[in-house]
Symmetry: C2
Subunit: 570 residues, 2 copies
Amino acid sequence: MNILGAAAGFEHGDMIIFFLSLAILIGGARILGELAEKFKQPSILGELLTGIILGPSVLGIFAPGLQSTLFPSSGPVYIGLQFMSSLAIALFLLLAGMEIDLRSVFRQGKKALSVSFGGMLIPFGLGLAVAIGAPHLIGQNEVENKTAFALFFATALSISALPVIARILMDLKLIKSHLGVTVLTAAIVNDLLGWLIFAMVLGMIGASGATHGIAFTLTATVLFAGFMFTVGTKIIEKIYPWIQANLSWPAGTLNFIIVGGLLCAAFTEWVGIHAIFGTFIFGVAVGQCRHIREKTLHTLESFISFIITPIFFATIGLQVNFFTSFDFGVVMMVLAIGTIGKVGGSWVGGKMVGMNNSESLAIGWAMNARGVMEIILGLIAFQAGLISESLFVALVVLALLTSMTSGALVQKILKRRVPINLVSLLRKDHMKMELEHTDKFQVIHELSAIAAKKLGRDDSEISDLIIKREKLDSTGLENGVAIPHCHLPDLKEPRIFLGVSKTGVDFNSYDQSLAKAIFMIITPADDPKCQLEIIAQLATFFNEPDKTQKLINGSTAEELIAYVKSEQAH
Amino acid sequence: MNILGAAAGFEHGDMIIFFLSLAILIGGARILGELAEKFKQPSILGELLTGIILGPSVLGIFAPGLQSTLFPSSGPVYIGLQFMSSLAIALFLLLAGMEIDLRSVFRQGKKALSVSFGGMLIPFGLGLAVAIGAPHLIGQNEVENKTAFALFFATALSISALPVIARILMDLKLIKSHLGVTVLTAAIVNDLLGWLIFAMVLGMIGASGATHGIAFTLTATVLFAGFMFTVGTKIIEKIYPWIQANLSWPAGTLNFIIVGGLLCAAFTEWVGIHAIFGTFIFGVAVGQCRHIREKTLHTLESFISFIITPIFFATIGLQVNFFTSFDFGVVMMVLAIGTIGKVGGSWVGGKMVGMNNSESLAIGWAMNARGVMEIILGLIAFQAGLISESLFVALVVLALLTSMTSGALVQKILKRRVPINLVSLLRKDHMKMELEHTDKFQVIHELSAIAAKKLGRDDSEISDLIIKREKLDSTGLENGVAIPHCHLPDLKEPRIFLGVSKTGVDFNSYDQSLAKAIFMIITPADDPKCQLEIIAQLATFFNEPDKTQKLINGSTAEELIAYVKSEQAH
């Protein structure tokens, strides 16, 4: 075997293209993903767009030669990218599995089950009805295996996207609330049931090309999942601490998780369902282990979600022409029954266990987020020849639109303000890295001048308000931080103006430290809560004595922002 | 493109084999790597062995059918593993490049250059002489391109392995000493020059199959490296902080490094030298950037060195039959001229700038470590048809033997004791997770009883010594840690016996905390320094107030060891 691919078997050009294509896919997904986030959209939107632009939909039309050179549809590069992509999605589901907390299902019990069943049964029923009664409405003119198709479509409408939902709840700081736990638990049950039915569908159509019969596939799947969730978790609970104590760290645990996942992937693929079930089930089993350390999780997460997973999402667009396969009628139909079924069903489920109207509705919209799970499901079904290209595109649109809107709708229904993000308030042009003055009031005037300029206000208007507040009670916190602040009328959003003083400014702090980082906080007068929230976040951030020093260590505003960002990330 | 590989183009079985082979390679490399480390050998020895066992040398003889199914030499799985391996080695060299500190070369100047040139010129000259004069002595009966072969062999003898050398110096706590910096700098110069000549060799033989002439390849390589080390580093220094401040963290920086590396890999591959030069040079350039955060490095390092790189080393053994190609004469010849040239040359270099005999000799043996670089070089040359299989095997043996022995020889020459590793002193059977007593002296008796049993001594012998010392001055440290200790005659190596007390024991500490973790330290009476070292390490470890609590949080000895290990890793 010629691993380095320099001479035999393998063309010189293939290696060039492989490295180039991979770089373009990862780099493109990052750039468009970041752009999507700037417009407050999920980054997966940008990642999918990358593939659409690089695939037959755009590049294939304007530069077909270049397109087929970079992303060929056969030959070694094709095979290489295919393996990379399969690995990416398998590892993504390993992580997704690890996020599932089986114990909460038992703890949460009735409420979550009611929401979950409501949120599954109604869209499932609607899906079955349409798929059997009027498949042409959802873009399927010929149906080969009617039962499998109907079951698939019903499942596709009923699943939720655990990761997206978790993210929405986290963003709204609801993840540990009663409502949050109910939604999450319902989504877990949803996920597990949905995947089980989907595995059945795959078994029925012999999608993966395995030669075993459906009876074998189903029995083996159920036995495997059952084994992993009972005996498997127990074995892992025993082995894992031994690995941590006796093998090198973190190599031992990282390898255990990856190798275990790969072995299970090979097993489920052999059984006749997809490799992703193997990694997912192993992920769930290993995720129950109480010995996993934060650092192991972080390493896995960083690498898998930031480098490997985007490869998969970017390659989706390479496979389908999203423009020619976009059928407006089909898309609207899928959107309508998907959303009505899911929101309505979850709402009914919530009401049945005595939740009020707005809570039940919020839960419904949260559960409606389909996210990446829908896309993965759809892609497998499309590749297995079970659904048409236009239905696949409609499912992708359903996934994206529901993921994009869920957060805002839940927020609106529950009337929650989006929590303030410290990093987003730190802007380069709102900072002065070397304050000229060392006297408290002069520093306030110095920062007020910047603020007045940026906000188009009068210098004295701001400084007067800040000084008035400052005279009431000094705003020096512990550890060299000061937070002069005021409410300003007619201001749209909060602002922070940051001044750094290497010598320090006396803000009469109670630990008598000189303030080296002075955060001047200006908030809208009609949003009193906002000020408190920013102050609380700053106080939390600077709870360790050395953080101020580390903050002002960098010489540029960019380094300072990078520091805050990297500290907040973990 | 059918990414999930379920239906068209791609066989169902291929995906099973791919996941399975990958799992076996990674898992096997980890297990044998750990075994190697248990016997104080470098883990790469185990990783190489994995491939030898799974390849034609062992599995191929006992179960040829299984071997060719798992690791085929053509077809999709072959191509997939090939790409994975190329990616692995390219990323490994990205990391290796990032470890190089170009500034130190200029800082260190004369001494390092003298050592480096001595350590290169002499083995280079010896290598040239043998390769031209008597190629059959080094297993090469037919030489196609005489100049290229001689240049390659000379280079192979003259390079050093920066990562191995850095590791040795780190283990001996010499990395920041004058000697350590000289050796490291010399190795960097060595590495850069060696790779440059090797790139020339590849250009000469048109190894990568590129169609450009050698003049183009050489010019492009030199221009590329020159550009990256001057303008390139400046651009990165500007862009990097912007990425850190404006893109999501750590995804932005991780992607920048990986994508940049892949693009350079594609470029150098296109130019006609190997992809690894691209990632290496980009790694060096990005490594000079002062804005890189520790966390970014750790994430890259953990994933690349613990999961991805072993794939490459494990696949080496798949390509060669190490037993049939092992030629004792060739191996001895390569070992002899390699070691004599390198140790002698570096020694001469050291003497020339006024270093004493033992220092110069220590430097020589340190520089003699060839490590993975030698193996990578050899593999590329072998695959390009430049060297015979038996010369490749001899180079692998040279790499392994020099890496395995360098550390011990340097240590012996400089008469340094190997520093104590806290984790290795913590053993399950040396701990009591729930102390019965809460009185200081009773606790000492409780721990002494365990110690006496494990050491085959008398109970009272140990407790008497400990109590005698304890009465002199109490051994309670801050933050709930106590360290009763004594010297014991006729003891071979230091021991720690650890008792955990949830209620706490009063050891009269000066912060008046009750001791919850009681480390009873017993050291050899004839090694007084050893006790101090252990105490210093414990004091450093427990410098934060909450660490003791975290330490005793786990209920088992294994969890406790895992905690110490994971905290020490970063």
